[in-house]
């Protein structure tokens, strides 16, 4: 059994021996393009012309991968591509694994490296739930009005106050009707303030469910957007109730990534207000080409109903976005446009922005929506589920808009609450320093053990080395991510793993002093130390598990390697060393002296 586990450990830790190549990856920015041999040859030729060294090129339809020999070449190559390729391509730094085929066929892959070890960008976004609640309350009010009308009950007032709806009735007799109406609205609690005023509040469960749903939806959308960026191994994870964390290895430009991820952009399609319904309460004014345009407040559809969008060029060579709507959107579009041929339809680009303002001397982040008309065109005929937007400023704007429409809108607006960039050189330094100190610490411990415990020290050393192999293979099998605190965790387990052996060996020495025979001293040493070791390791494991549950990011990285390390160290320090000791001393009947 012991041998089997060790063999598995060795095999699955092997992919980590082959260092990955620094590489540059080029992908298409939109889902449309694909690489053919001619394009690949051309990009390759241009890079060769610039005398930038790269070792090999691999490509499939979606991406090209240039492997290089060192980080300097990698940066040079990236700069070259950034200057020479247009923005239809996404260029990202990458670490291309060098796992041999036979290991790949065993499903053995190297462990993943965290951003702190390979460089990249990370973001933490938080959903703005206030807006979500507001929207929910608004729709509840309009529903409630309808239901109350059906019950022929006319409230004196019905308005939103903070996160609840205030209702005032004319007579108390109407209370029964009101509670009946509220019952048909799901997820609300009615609270009576006094004889005629009532407060309607979202129930806790409803609120939780709503936020949960919105965040899940956003998670999906953000995944799509990140995938559109074409970066290898991105991580998009939910973190807590309202947050989503995004890690983009190899990306260095926060601004660029933020532009795509963070945009809570949406589109609104609205009709220009005809003069006959120019009631001020039903129109919005927007400037467009130097004049004000009146638009109806009511939307025809919004960006959520776009099922596909792609960039194209019209007959004059101007960029346009071709849009396909889902069936519901298509039907709505048709209904609204068929009676309005000759009227103008506006496409509004809605972007959520924030600014910091001093309010009573305290800075506060204020979020607001910026809406601008990007196209205003006369409806030539009834539109359906396929149509196009023209009048865009540049091909870049067109491709960005298409991307955002394709990747979907966010269910709740999200704010950046944390962001960070780690340069590739810092990542490489961190790996180097981490491994150096690991090796040095290991070397010192190994020397000390041999000096102090002789043969037994040698066995313990073998156990410590195997322990590291097992940690690495467990990390690889679980595809856990190794971070700098993770390396620190491994370093710590080395120190602590030795403790188990020290406990056993010092116990054996003690038993020898109590003039037990060597054979008996060995088994007494192992047996008596076992309880102590298990007690001690179990408590440390408890700490590691708590760290993992409570902590985030770096703390979790530390907790993972620490818990794996504790488990594997119990295996190597107890089972493996015992096996070795029996292998050396077990078969001899009488031993005069133990080398301990």
């Amino acid at each position: 059994m012991v041998v089997g586990v060790l063999l598995l450990g060795v095999i699955y830790s092997m992919p980590n021996i082959f260092p990955p190549d620094p590489a540059v990856q080029i992908t298409f920015n939109s889902s449309g393009g694909s690489f053919n041999d001619r394009v690949v040859e051309k990009i390759k030729f241009n890079a060769e012309k610039e005398k930038i060294n790269f070792s090999s090129v691999e490509n499939d339809e979606k991406s090209i991968l240039f492997r290089t020999n060192n980080y300097d070449d990698q940066i040079k190559l990236k700069q070259h591509f950034e200057e020479s390729l247009d923005n239809n391509f996404v260029i990202a730094l990458n670490l291309a694994p060098n796992t041999p085929e036979w290991l790949k066929s065993l499903n053995a892959f190297p462990m993943k490296l965290g951003l702190d070890l390979r460089g990249g960008v990370h973001f933490l976004l938080e959903a703005d739930t206030d807006l979500l609640i507001e929207a929910k309350l608004e729709s509840a009010i309009s529903n409630l009005k309808r239901i109350l009308r059906d019950l022929s009950l006319k409230p004196r007032a019905l308005e939103i106050e903070n996160t609840s709806i205030l209702i005032s009735l004319n007579t108390q007799q109407d209370e029964e009707l009101l509670s009946e109406a509220v019952q048909s609205l799901n997820g609300f609690d009615l609270e009576s303030l006094n004889s005629s005023d009532y407060r309607l509040r979202l129930t806790e469960e409803e609120l939780e469910q709503m936020i949960d749903y919105a965040v899940l939806q956003n998670l999906n959308t953000l995944r799509n957007r990140v995938n559109e960026l074409g970066i290898s191994e991105p991580v998009v994870q939910r973190q807590g109730a309202k947050r989503i964390s995004i890690q983009l290895p190899g990306v260095q430009d926060t601004a660029e990534a933020k532009k795509i991820i963070g945009k809570t952009a949406n589109l609104e399609f609205r009709l220009e207000a005809a003069n006959r319904i120019s009631l001020a309460s039903r129109i919005d004014k927007f400037p467009f080409n130097g004049r004000d345009v009146n638009l109806e407040k009511r939307l025809i559809i919004s960006g959520d109903q776009v099922s596909d969008a792609s960039v194209g060029y019209d007959e004059n060579g101007f960029p346009q976005v071709n849009i396909s709507l889902d069936s519901e959107g298509g039907a709505k579009m048709h209904r609204s446009t068929r009676n309005n041929v000759g009227t103008k339809m506006a496409v509004l680009f809605v972007e959520r922005k924030s600014r910091t303002e001093l309010i009573n001397g305290i800075p506060e982040v204020i979020n607001f929506f910026e809406k601008r008309i990007i196209s205003l065109a006369t409806i030539q005929s009834a539109l359906a589920s396929q149509f196009r937007i023209t009048g865009l400023d540049s091909p870049e704007e067109a491709s960005e808009l298409a991307l955002l429409l394709r990747a979907g809108a966010l269910a709740a607006p999200m704010d950046f609450v944390e962001e960070g960039t780690i340069g590739p050189s810092l990542g490489a330094d961190n790996i180097k320093l981490g491994i150096q100190s690991l090796l040095l610490g290991l070397g010192l411990v190994l020397l000390f053990m041999i000096f102090y415990y002789k043969i037994f020290g040698l066995i313990a050393n073998l156990a410590v080395v195997l322990n590291i192999v097992l940690i690495v293979s467990a990390m690889s099998i679980l595809s856990a991510t190794l971070t700098l605190p993770g390396i620190a965790g491994i370093v710590l387990t080395i120190g602590m793993a030795v403790d188990a052996n020290v406990l056993i060996f010092s116990r054996i020495r003690e038993e020898l002093k109590n003039s037990l025979k060597p054979q008996d001293a060995i088994s007494a040493g192992y047996d008596r130390a076992l309880i102590t070791i298990i007690d001690a390791n179990l408590t440390t494991l408890i700490v590691a598990v708590i760290l993992y549950v409570v902590g985030t990011g770096p703390i979790q990285g530390f907790a993972i390697t620490l818990s794996i390390g504790i488990l594997t160290s119990m295996f190597t320090a107890i089972l493996f060393t015992r096996m070795m000791v029996y292998f050396i001393y077990g078969r001899r009947k009488e031993i005069e002296k133990l080398w301990i």
Partner: protein, 303 residues
């Protein structure tokens, strides 16, 4: 050398006074100097840059930041004379790092090594979460020791853990070292380590009490400690060897982590001997406390 019976407990009064002095200094420093919370907890922005050449003075960079109407910032060397870290706390001073980098680029030639922004909300939440983690860790340990040993041991272990945590915190406050997430991780690891030590010592105390029911408590504890001192010192020494290697060669990013663990390991080793056993003696632990009850089985049920 006869290691079988060293009078560890002879100096218990002196060590108690030493512990009290250290704890008072730590708490005083925590109140006066406070903890120098890192970016992870306060929120704000951090930029680490590597200049193409060494610079002798940071005044020029400080001046530039002042000219941007920033005031509460910190500019420091970070490991060498060309690695600079710039910290701007969040809140009323928030900046756009990209703008700052662009401004710096006009006067200096550098590479951005790291750039972080933490929103104030995240920071304070993390602080609460971290404190909660500490408390949760302490509570679970207590229950575990009460279950495995006895309440007197649990109390001793708790005092030892509080002692270690307070001293590490006090050390960071006294020398105004940055207290960030990695230090919090280190403190939790210290709890694990100190507990490990405490349990190993307590285990032996329990064993000796059970062996010789009628002996004097102080003698039994001294005997236990003498038997374990070799192991305790070796384990601390090997762990410290690794940690010192980490401190010297692990780079600036994990140096505070290593410092916290080094202080914690030293304090943990000391506390498992003096704090735990002192508490046991003060609570008049007797062999009756450790009689094997019928329900308790020596076998852990573990392989």
């Amino acid at each position: 050398m006869d290691l079988t019976n060293i009078g560890f407990m002879k100096i218990r009064r002196q060590t108690t006074i030493l512990s009290i002095i250290l704890i008072v200094i730590s708490i005083y420093s925590l109140f006066v100097n406070k903890l120098n919370f890192g970016l992870d907890f306060t929120g704000g922005s951090l930029i680490e840059i590597r200049l193409t050449e060494d610079i002798d003075s940071l005044e020029e960079i400080r001046g530039l930041l002042q000219s941007m109407n920033l005031n509460d910032f910190q500019v420091n060397y970070f490991g060498s004379n060309r690695d600079i870290s710039i910290k701007v706390p969040g809140g009323d001073n928030s900046i756009d790092e990209d703008v700052l980098i662009q401004n710096l680029k006009q006067d200096f030639d550098f590479e951005v090594r790291r750039q972080e922004f933490v929103g104030p909300q995240v920071g304070s939440e993390l602080r609460d979460q971290g404190g909660l983690g500490l408390l949760a860790a302490l509570a679970v340990m207590m229950v575990y020791i009460m279950f495995r040993f006895q309440y007197k041991f649990a109390l001793g272990a708790l005092l030892a853990l509080v002692h270690d945590v307070v001293i590490v915190l006090g050390f960071f406050s006294f020398f105004s070292l940055d207290f960030d997430l990695s230090v919090l991780a280190a403190i939790l690891a210290v709890i694990g380590y100190s507990l490990n030590d405490t349990i190993v010592v307590s285990d032996r105390v329990r064993e000796n009490f059970r062996k010789k029911r009628r002996s004097d408590s102080e003698i039994a504890i001294n005997r236990s400690l003498s038997q374990m001192i070799g192991r305790t010192l070796i384990t601390s020494l090997t762990t410290l060897l690794v940690l010192i290697a980490l401190l010297i060669f692990g780079g600036e990013t994990i140096s505070n982590f290593s410092i916290a663990l080094i202080v914690g390991v030293i304090s943990g080793t000391y506390s498992s001997i003096y704090i735990v056993c002192n508490t046991l003696l003060s609570l008049k632990v007797t062999s009756e406390d450790l009689m094997i009850r019928k329900t308790e089985v020596l076998d852990d049920g573990m392989p």
